[in-house]
């Protein structure tokens, strides 16, 4: 077959200041195929795709669309060539309706009315054709992320994209939503559209793509036909060494409980009860995983324990001390002082101040520690020394404590937060979504650190929407649904069974024997 490729990149280079994000990249994407792109955090995937979409400009190199050399001056030019992109961080206006977001930039005429009407009709057609249902008049800020992503896809289709770039689309999706997405991609492919898919999940690559390219540290290191490769090979290509795709850990030797939660109830700002009478304990030397579809109270549970959110009732016993959560006024700093570390679910919103330098972020929440501050002045030298040590130990790249955390890739930002919390050696560590948007090399590292912490006799409470992650790490699994803990399972619980519990199907086996017998 000697068809002209839909997209061809030749010798693309791109630097951001000192960071050489793309080095001499070549890439050929066959028309009507799904082409995967994988690579570690910061490998330059998003940058490369943004160049193709005209958001960034390559320093040099050629772009060929349908065999013709083109210059893509801005996104308008890219859209004109039939290229559409769903960005890793959505490009939507939060207080606009779905419809307004879709027509933005493609309004037909200077008056809105006509364009909006046409969009409404066209949207209806697209919705039916691809089963991408979403209320055109809903405001983006009221939609869950899964639907926001739909809007992004509809935006691209509305502009009749022939080449669709999806940058980590499944990072924010629940497994059923992801399945639905892949079905849609399949339909689009069968219509002759070309799809570029970035993901960290090798399973998705194996299941959905026709070919796959691997990037490492700004370079394109390999391209394979998907059917001629394996997860192991891809992982190795990505990281440059062989990677363990599962967690290597010994059975837990759990001792006394370090943290006991009893009858915890939490009401959110809308007045809805989101955590309902939850009780459980975490023992020294074990990892307790909380599984559940996102939005079932796990986040609020974690935040309440961390001292960020107030409970309406319940008690927390930590290290023998009993705290009445209903009346406590302990804040996040107080909880940290009680040797409870917290890796928040959303690193941007709660874990880091992105305009601060790495070294400043490396002591956030511990900045009153006498080692770093004399009460009035910060001990910058000590802070930096500590930051450098953490960077070294956690292989944070680039190894520069002066850099703003905004300039680190997602995986490296996550490592900064983890390093900060783990290195304080807490008795209990609360961890939310530790590997969201993180590449497999870093995942392996993060998982092994958590297991190490466990083996050092600490208690870990892990909240994750990734069932695979929970199953790999946790010694005990609690399933949350609608604010309640609806079941407990052992480490080797059946995936299907957990899935049913997460979906709210009643726990027939009662509280499983192995769980409560412990």
């Amino acid at each position: 077959m000697n068809e002209t490729p839909a997209i061809e990149l030749r010798g693309i280079n791109k630097s951001f200041g000192p960071v050489h994000a793309n080095k001499d990249i070549d890439l050929v994407v066959k028309k009507g195929s799904i082409h995967g792109i994988i690579g570690e955090n910061g490998a330059g995937k998003s940058t490369l795709m943004s160049i193709l979409y005209g958001f960034y400009h390559a320093d040099d190199g050629d772009i060929l669309v349908n065999g013709k050399k083109v210059t893509i001056a801005d996104s308008k030019a890219a859209i004109g060539m039939g290229i559409g992109m769903v960005h890793q961080h959505f490009m939507l206006v939060d207080n606009f309706s779905v419809l307004e977001n879709i027509v933005l930039g493609a309004e037909d005429s200077a008056m809105l009315a006509g364009g909006l009407d046409r969009a409404r009709i066209e949207l209806k057609r697209l919705e039916e054709e691809y089963e991408l249902r979403v209320d055109p008049d809903a405001l983006i800020q009221d939609l869950p992320v899964g639907l926001q992503q739909r809007v992004e896809i509809l935006k691209a289709l509305y502009r009749s994209a022939e080449v669709l770039i999806l940058d980590e689309p499944t990072g924010v999706l629940t497994p059923p939503e992801a399945d639905h997405l892949f079905k849609i991609l399949e339909v689009l492919k069968n219509e002759g559209k070309t799809i570029l898919l970035i993901t960290h999940k090798l399973r998705e690559i194996m299941a959905a793509t026709d070919s796959v390219s691997v990037m490492r540290r700004g370079e394109m290191v390999a391209t394979r036909e998907t059917r001629n490769t394996s997860m192991e090979e891809l992982a190795e290509l990505m990281v440059g060494r062989s990677v363990l795709l599962r967690v290597d850990k010994k059975p837990a030797v759990a001792a006394e409980p370090v943290m006991q939660v009893e009858n915890l109830s939490v009401t959110d700002q809308r007045g809805v009860q989101v955590v309902k009478d939850v009780s459980f304990s975490v023992r020294a030397g074990e990892i307790v995983g909380i599984a559940g579809v996102s939005g079932n109270g796990q986040s609020e549970l974690l935040e309440t324990l961390a001292g960020i959110r107030r409970a309406t009732g319940g008690t927390l016993r930590i290290n023998g001390e009993t705290i009445d959560l209903g009346t406590s006024t302990l804040d996040a700093a107080d909880m940290r002082a009680k040797s409870m570390g917290h890796v928040p679910e959303d690193r941007h919103r709660m874990g880091l101040i992105n305009s601060f330098a790495e070294y400043e972020n490396s002591i956030l929440g511990y900045h009153r520690d006498p080692a770093y501050s004399s009460g009035l002045l910060m001990n910058i030298a000590a802070i930096k020394e500590n930051a450098v040590a953490e960077i070294e130990k956690y292989d944070i790249r680039p190894p520069n404590p002066m850099l703003k955390t905004a300039s680190f890739s997602g995986g490296n930002q996550q490592k900064i937060v983890l390093a900060r919390e783990i290195e304080r050696d807490p008795d209990v560590l609360l961890v939310g979504q530790p590997t969201r948007g993180v590449d497999i090399g870093a995942i392996e590292f993060i998982h092994s650190r958590l297991v190490e912490l466990r083996d050092a006799g600490k208690g870990i409470l892990l909240v994750s929407v990734e069932l695979d992650e929970i199953r790999a790490l946790a010694d005990r699994i609690l399933v949350m649904f609608d604010g309640r803990i609806v079941g407990e399972r052992g480490a080797n619980a059946d995936e299907g069974e957990l899935g049913l519990l997460m979906a709210g199907v009643e726990d027939q086996a009662k509280m499983s024997v192995e769980g409560s017998a412990r």
Binding site: S15, F16, G17, P18, V19, Y53, G54, F55, Y56, D74, S75, K76, A77, A78, I79, G80, M85, H87, M91, L92, V93, D94, N95, F96, E100, N101, V103, L104, G105, A106, E107, S109, A110, M111, L112, A113, G115, K155, K404, A406, S407
Partner: protein
């Protein structure tokens, strides 16, 4: 009593007009994400430009045009600093206020040698009040008469322009492509950029629209309401307009009501000057002058609901960090 009320309302309209024009000006700018603390300076510059040119040419329209020219030029300066060079918008706005205050006084003194004032305007150099048809005949009809002939009729054209600008702004903002993009760029410039629209050009257009309206506001002060430019004649109106903008949560109709309220307070203050209020005594003028700010602070403290500014307001758009 009714007479007094009509008189107060009439001067409310006159006093609100410059606030309203400046407030709508700020609305365009801030809705696009460019915070404009320089409304005051632009108004002052425009007032001077209008006063000077209207005096020299004896033509109010040329004066207005000059006012707009000065104001747009200052706006472009703000744009150049904050859009093209991604400078701090507050700093740039404050600089424009200083620049305008200093330059108008200096040029005024150099050109006209009257302590910074422009000389009294000749006939034709000032916008005259427009008397509506039958205003005189209807004057004596109860209720309707004074409403028509005092409140509606008998203002200069810039007053009407200010109030027509309200529905017009609403229409532009919510019914046109430009408005959609303008609102979008103030919320999420990256979304606008990836939709294939130039963020910088869009913001420049917003800044120009802001300049034009500020030009009207300044010209109103010196060649419509007043009969010449006086040193620092804006006297903080730009800041009150900014307060009204926040008070109105960046919405055109609410902006009008906020400006009318502030104008009303001003009118009452003038009326109350030197008068005893039974049981309280004389209320200091300063109290009324401070009221707009106090009200805004109360609003910002969350008593009347949250005033959420456009999300990207004040943040320079920068897609490549290095």
């Amino acid at each position: 009593m009714f007479e007094t009320l009509i008189l107060i309302l009439d001067s409310t309209v006159r006093l609100s007009t410059p606030l309203l024009l400046a407030c709508l000006a700020g609305l365009y700018s801030e809705r696009s994400g460019v915070v404009d603390i320089g409304l005051e300076g632009k108004m002052l510059g425009a007032a001077f430009g209008a006063g000077a040119v209207a005096y020299v040419t004896a033509n109010a329209w040329l004066g207005l045009l000059a006012g707009i020219g000065v104001s747009v030029a200052l706006g472009l300066l703000h744009g150049f600093a904050s859009i093209s060079n991604r400078g701090n918008q507050i700093v740039s706005g404050v600089a424009i206020n200083f620049l305008a205050a200093g330059l108008t006084a200096l040029l005024g003194q150099t050109w006209f040698r009257q302590g910074g004032r422009t000389p009294a305007l000749p006939e034709g150099g000032r916008f005259r009040d427009i008397v509506w048809p039958y205003a005189e005949q209807l004057r004596d009809v109860p209720v309707i008469g004074p409403l028509y002939s005092e409140l509606l009729s008998g203002h200069n054209i810039l007053v009407y322009a200010g109030f027509i600008a309200v529905p017009l702004t609403w229409w532009v903002l919510f019914r046109t492509r430009f408005g959609l993009r303008l609102r979008a760029v103030g919320e999420n410039p990256a979304a606008v950029d990836t939709a294939g629209i130039s963020v910088a050009w869009l913001r420049y257009r917003a800044v120009i629209a802001c300049g034009i309206l500020c030009g009207f506001a300044g010209a109103y002060l010196s060649i419509a309401q007043g009969a010449g430019f006086g040193v620092n004649m804006t006297a903080g109106k730009g800041f009150i307009a900014l307060a009204a903008l926040i008070f109105a949560k960046w919405r055109p109709a609410s902006a009008m009501f906020a400006c009318l309220l502030f104008g009303f307070l001003d009118a009452v203050a003038i009326r109350m000057q030197g008068q005893e209020v039974p049981g309280i005594g004389e209320i200091p003028v300063q109290f009324f002058q401070a009221l707009p700010y106090i009200l805004t602070v109360i609003l910002l403290a969350g008593f009347i609901g949250k005033a959420v500014p456009p999300k990207a307001a004040g943040i320079p758009y920068l897609k490549e960090r290095s």
